[in-house]
Assembly symmetry: C2
Homo-oligomer: 316 residues x 2
Amino acid sequence: QQQENTPTAQQDPLPSWNENNTKHAIITYVEEITDKNSGNFIPELDRIATFDNDGTLWSEQPIYFQLFFAMDRVKAMADEHPDWKNKQPFKAVLDNNRQELMKQGEKGILEIVMNTHAGMTTEEFEKEVKNWVATAEHPIKKKRYTELVYQPMLELLQYLRANGFKTFIVSGGGVDFMRPWVEEVYGIPRDQVVGSTIQVKYDYNNGKPVVRKLAEIDYIDDKDGKPECIHKYIGRKPVFAAGNSDGDLQMLRWADANPYKSFQLYVHHTDSTREWAYDRQSHIGQFDKGLDEAKEKNWTLVDMKNDWKVVYPFDK
Amino acid sequence: QQQENTPTAQQDPLPSWNENNTKHAIITYVEEITDKNSGNFIPELDRIATFDNDGTLWSEQPIYFQLFFAMDRVKAMADEHPDWKNKQPFKAVLDNNRQELMKQGEKGILEIVMNTHAGMTTEEFEKEVKNWVATAEHPIKKKRYTELVYQPMLELLQYLRANGFKTFIVSGGGVDFMRPWVEEVYGIPRDQVVGSTIQVKYDYNNGKPVVRKLAEIDYIDDKDGKPECIHKYIGRKPVFAAGNSDGDLQMLRWADANPYKSFQLYVHHTDSTREWAYDRQSHIGQFDKGLDEAKEKNWTLVDMKNDWKVVYPFDK
Ligand SMILES: [Ca+2]
Ligand SMILES: [Ca+2]
């Protein structure tokens, strides 16, 4: 957590952000809380920044990317499970019925993930995720999923770290699904990833210890679960929290309750051309109460269409 | 996690360690795995070091220090709970019956902690721990508990960090009991503390969000729980693991299974004069199977009496 690459006046730390209020609000905040002479100075250990993942750091349409992963697993294993043809949520996967699948939410994803991976060791699971990330293609964008991360948010993560922040992911997605690629893609170490978890069991396995995944949910890191997991895993209230949906509202409120001056950022999906436009009515990333509260409390709303020069790294 | 304070040839990174095999084994290992030209070089992100706390970083006799804390709480609350006089484990506390208490183990401690803290917010609990740590005195050593940390281990933590290791605590003790003081005492950030947990519940509380402690155990981070929690919280196998009892054996085996060259260190309590001497028969920190396996596998055994020049910082 050293201050390296401290931006000089000549360098723009957020080149993919338009010169709008949003960018200025971020930079003003960071400059203020890192200034020892400011009344709002925050010591480095307290500079905790938490980021939601789906819809905040990468896209989540037409369905959560982890669900594509889980669907691919179900299809690959379908022959061994003839009963899945008539059993939800597997039936929806085999029928390619995304509408039905979306209704299952993050719990449904975890259920599919659990059932397709129970008994697997954590190392086998990791190998599978890595292989999928390296080969699978987004059905609409025709890109690798990890290419569909937001360039402006990558710059924001880097900018915060360069200013002594410790950056964390706090996502409803499965932690084991994120860890294999977040270091390379976001520059966030594995242990700084908080997410939903499936129970695991250590097995000595004749002198070759393994940790196996069970078919039981441990914790859903969404809504109330976010501040609970932040307490459990990080042990300190964030001063900077970023999300995109009502599932992040509790996390943003938690940061807002920090005695230090805090920053709440909501990514509003307003760009139907370069990305997707959705908010109050969406099944994925519903943003309704959060949108109202952001306006009421003057939290920072990223207007994707107008605030971002480019969306994805390959657009640069 | 930058490499600062890199030790030069002139500086001794472990001045409180005698020039014995143990010290040389540690230094040889660190020099080898940080040398890019060595076949055993380990990239920085993989330099994960996990340390047990009780009996490994600080003393644990005559009973776990957290139990003294819990006992003080029980005594302070006894008037409100007349039934505790006849109910274990509270009766043992009120009778000052340590023998009985020790039998309860880490689960008993958590039970007392839970019952004396249920309903409290995490912030109230933190304040209480900080106050206790600042004022309570060890009944035999007549020192603050946080003065009873091992000077040679503080140097080891610092030496590893200076060589690009990320240092974690992985303890059977309660995580909320450790976090308030570990940063100052060990230089380990709160989010790098893994321990036993009590369930918590987020409460919006009329616009003042809090996280409250419940009277339910979430997870015991001991024995099999250690590699399970390492997977859950850190997401990467350690290359360096240190413990002092049979409760750490699974963690050391987990590090031993790392494809990178790993280091297993067991602190053997052999010093009845400066600290305490105990191993195979002890109720606290029983070290029996682990001692056999350490010898069988040539893991590094710290002989406290002969390997450490000083035990506590105040002995320097
Ligand atoms: Ca989201
Ligand atoms: Ca111990």
